[in-house]
Amino acid sequence: MLLLPALLGLAFLLVPLIGLIAKAPWSTLPSRLFSADVWQALRLSLVCATSATVLCLLLGVPLAWVLARGGLPFRGVIRALVTVPLVLPPVVGGVALLLVLGRRGLIGQYLDQWFGISLPFTTAGVVVAEAFVAMPFLVISVEGALRAADPRYEEAAATLGAGRWLTFRRVTLPSIMPGVVAGTVLCWARALGEFGATITFAGNFPGRTTTMPLAVYLALETDPDVAVVLSLVLLLVSVVVLASLRERWISGLR
């Protein structure tokens, strides 16, 4: 009974990817792959996704710790708010970022006036947009790991004279490492594929804000073959990420 829809579902997920591989212009692929445009977009994508992930780690791990251990009032509400970017259409996220961090935005105007910093339509803007969309993945994953970890080990560390920071660094963090790694990989993959928030907040300027997904979209209008090549590269990256996420790490998410 269930076999047929199951097979259909599997085909639905796999056929487009097979189509992508089948339609690839294999003969001209090497020359297209090593064109300056592709490399530029790929390099920018990797740099921005990695920077966004680092930003997410720096802000997201402490946030996850506070959510899991801080004993906050309205923790459930805060937790729900953290996950909003997860379900929010990325374009809406981009608009929101523009309203807050844009040159006339709530915070952006002061950044501009006081520090001469303007985030929209810059590479830094790409990082901010990607981090905004990707951080919930990290927070949820790390928070889950923290809540599963036994807080009594932290108490044991305290009785041995370890302060909060030392305890976090030497006891808590190592015990939640699988969750952190899983969250980081998911966060990075999400940042790498980010499109909607990026194009809204950072625009599409080759070399500065045109990441791979944006390049694919652009190329589809002008040269579909290039779009296929770029897509293949992203597919390859995704597969590598998936392969590196071994069973153990994925289990850290549950």
Binding site: Y153, A157, A158, T159, L160, L166, R170
Partner: protein, 357 residues
């Protein structure tokens, strides 16, 4: 340095008020049934739980005195051995033992040297690089003890240190723990629900029930003169309260009016009456020669112990409402024991202890 702990903690309807003093070199066991508040008291003294009232101090160094003073656990000179040890699994045994020294600012090399000396002391020097996960229960307990003692704490706290072990290893590990505790010069507070652990390891017992101290003293004194039903059960004695007049005690608790016990030695006033279950004999027919304490009784329960059978009886209205008797399996066969069966119980007056309430 002496520990003065007047621990008051309230949580919901549970209310803990325990006043303890532990002298240096002394091992005090906090003994009580589950839910009596033992672990809560230990956590408060360790600084893992703030007091609601009272005061915890080591000599004149105040650790906790609400609402003004609270020192967190990491700023108290303590060592704690937790019930399931809580060894850090991502570190080797050596790193576990060295952790407290490192946390207290000892440099890496000195910490490792001291840690390996401690592993040597507990006989585990060959396990320095082993992960705690692959240790046996007894070994893990020794590493936990070494970790707690490595920082040279003023106060050692042990939370059910033998509860996680299987019966076969407990005897050996208990003896070894006893040796380490005798060598340790600081204050030791041991929390346990096992009377044997407490009797063997502690110099003094403090027994708590429902958040209150019900009895404290030297283990032999407590074993001989229990003051509550829980303690009597722990040390395996029948215990009653009553009013003595000459050689007759009229039981007040737990008994119904009219129940009396006859003594060999006269006493007076409110007393505890205690005697071992082996002092009670059972007969189908009323025994001839009428010994002084003979009561008709009804069997309410039968339990097999190692080499004896413990029979629970109701001897009302002339005797105690709950009477325990230890008899041999052969006697069980002779009596054809079954619940509800009427018998005659006799008690040797010479084996009855009385002491003032």
């Amino acid at each position: 340095m002496t520990l003065y702990a007047d621990v008051r903690v309230s949580r919901g309807s549970f209310d803990l008020a325990v006043d303890l003093v532990v002298q240096p070199g002394e091992v005090v066991a906090l003994l009580g049934p589950n839910g009596a508040g033992k672990t809560t008291a230990l956590r408060a003294i360790a600084g893992l739980l703030p007091l609601g009232g009272g005061r915890i101090a080591l000599d004149d160094e105040i650790w906790d005195e609400p609402p003004r003073t609270f020192r967190t656990a990491d700023r108290r000179p303590i060592g704690v051995v937790f019930q399931d040890y809580l060894l850090f699994d991502h570190m080797s045994c050596l790193e576990n033992v060295a952790f407290g020294l490192r946390a207290r600012g000892v440099d890496k090399h000195a910490a490792r040297t001291e840690a390996s000396r401690w592993l040597d002391t507990v006989g585990l020097s060959s396990y320095a690089r082993t992960r705690p996960r692959s240790l046996s229960g007894g070994q893990a307990q020794r590493v936990a003890l070494a970790r707690a003692l490595a920082t040279d704490p003023e106060l050692l706290l042990l939370d059910e240190p033998l509860a996680a072990l299987d019966a076969g290893t407990t005897l050996h590990v208990r003896a070894e723990l006893g040796q380490h505790l005798r060598r340790y010069s600081g204050c030791t507070l041991l929390v346990t629900h096992d009377p044997l652990d407490a009797m063997v390891l502690a110099d003094r017992l403090v027994i708590i029930e429902n958040g209150r101290i019900v009895q404290q003293g030297h283990p032999t004194e407590i074993a001989r003169h229990p003051r509550t039903d829980y303690v009597a059960q722990l040390v395996g004695l029948n215990l009653y309260r009553g009013n003595a007049e000459g050689t007759t005690v009229t039981l007040t608790e737990p008994a119904r009016p009219g129940a009396t016990i006859t003594l060999a030695e006269p006493a007076s006033g409110p007393v505890h009456v205690a005697f071992p279950p082996t002092a009670v004999s059972l007969y189908v027919e009323p025994p001839s020669g009428s010994p002084r304490n003979t009561w008709p009784a009804i069997v309410t329960g039968i339990e097999q112990h190692a080499h004896t059978v413990r029979v629970r009886l109701d001897a009302t209205p002339t005797g105690p409402a709950v009477l325990l008797a230890d008899i041999t399996p052969a006697a069980v066969a002779d009596l054809h024991l079954a619940p509800g069966q009427p018998l005659h119980a006799t008690l040797k007056a010479t084996e009855v202890h009385t002491y003032p309430v």
